[in-house]
């Protein structure tokens, strides 16, 4: 059953990619952090809905693309505090978000839609319409 639907990219799940996972990222301070955002995926009758938490990402700084069956989201987070602000207490790091997913064949790539609300990206991955059975004429000699 899962084979015919979209699943997160297994490479990415196994942590084989360059990016760091989660909040435990240990990038040196002079480099940008790249986080794997938490996601939910749930099924509907028409397809799948994927939601990702991307606090700090706006429409202008979000890139969402499908290439070769891979859906990739990349969100840049601009620095919130103005220059010269002294960080007194820190519980989270600012950083960008990157995650990719392998789409299954029954996702209709052309009808994928997405919206961004309050820092949450929602991607709708519709099923390809079921094709009608078609009679094939067999000719005999």
């Amino acid at each position: 059953m899962t084979n015919e639907l979209s699943r997160p990219n297994p490479d990415q799940q196994a942590g084989n990619t360059e990016q760091r996972s989660g909040r435990e990222a240990s990038t040196p301070p002079d480099e940008r952090y790249v986080f794997t955002p938490p996601i939910d995926i749930h099924e509907t009758d028409d397809g799948l809905i994927l939601r990702a938490d991307l606090p700090g990402v706006s429409l202008e700084t979000l890139e969402l693309q499908v290439q070769n069956n891979r859906l990739t989201l990349f969100g840049r987070v601009p620095q919130v505090a103005p220059e010269g602000a002294r960080l007194v207490h820190q519980e989270y790091h600012e950083g960008d978000y990157l995650r990719s997913f392998i789409l299954s064949d029954n996702v209709d790539h052309d009808r994928i839609s997405a919206k961004l609300t309050n820092g949450v990206l929602e991607v709708f991955l519709p099923h390809t319409p079921k094709s009608q059975p078609r009679k094939i004429q067999v000719s005999g000699s």
């Binding site: 699943r7 938490p38 939910d40 749930h42 938490d53 606090p55 700090g56 007194v88 989270y92 309050n118």
Partner: protein, 147 residues
């Protein structure tokens, strides 16, 4: 006008002096003492700018109407939450990593924060709270009487 205080008794008045410089840091730490497990939600950062403090919090998915900020007795309380999406059958979740539910955080504010100019903004899932510092009072001479 209004100035937050941590202590209300006379005995606190002197220790306040010592704490003054780091007071905002300490007050945040105080808030954390009660929690031993895991990270707090939502995570916050605190910045010191010349004339104000800035608190930022990551609260993706929380709408303005589901967010509540309150100040009482020098404690800033942030309350909010978000639910799983209505109508979505729990059994139809393929993957669920995003936290949901309600949360609350209280932050003891330092002295010398002016309530009047407090501003909050929620954009793209980042909450920003600006806490203006109160203006320094002019030093006041205390007359000493002797016998």
């Amino acid at each position: 006008m209004a100035v937050f205080r941590w202590g209300h008794s006379w005995s606190d008045a002197f220790s306040d002096l010592e704490r003054e410089v780091d007071s905002i840091l300490q007050s945040v730490n105080q808030t954390f003492q009660g929690l031993r497990f895991g990270r707090q939600h939502p995570p916050i950062n605190l910045y010191d700018l010349d004339d104000h403090y800035l608190i930022t919090a990551e609260i993706a998915g929380v709408a303005t109407e589901d967010l509540d900020l309150a100040i009482a007795n020098g404690v800033l309380t942030i309350r909010g939450g978000r639910q799983l999406d209505e109508g979505a059958d729990e059994n139809r979740y393929r993957r669920q990593e995003r936290p949901h539910g309600s949360w609350q955080r209280s932050i003891s504010l330092p002295e010398r924060v002016s309530e009047d100019g407090l501003k909050a903004d929620l954009t793209n899932g980042i909450l920003q709270i600006v806490l203006p510092k109160a203006q320094d009072e002019a030093p006041r001479q205390i007359p000493v009487t002797g016998g």
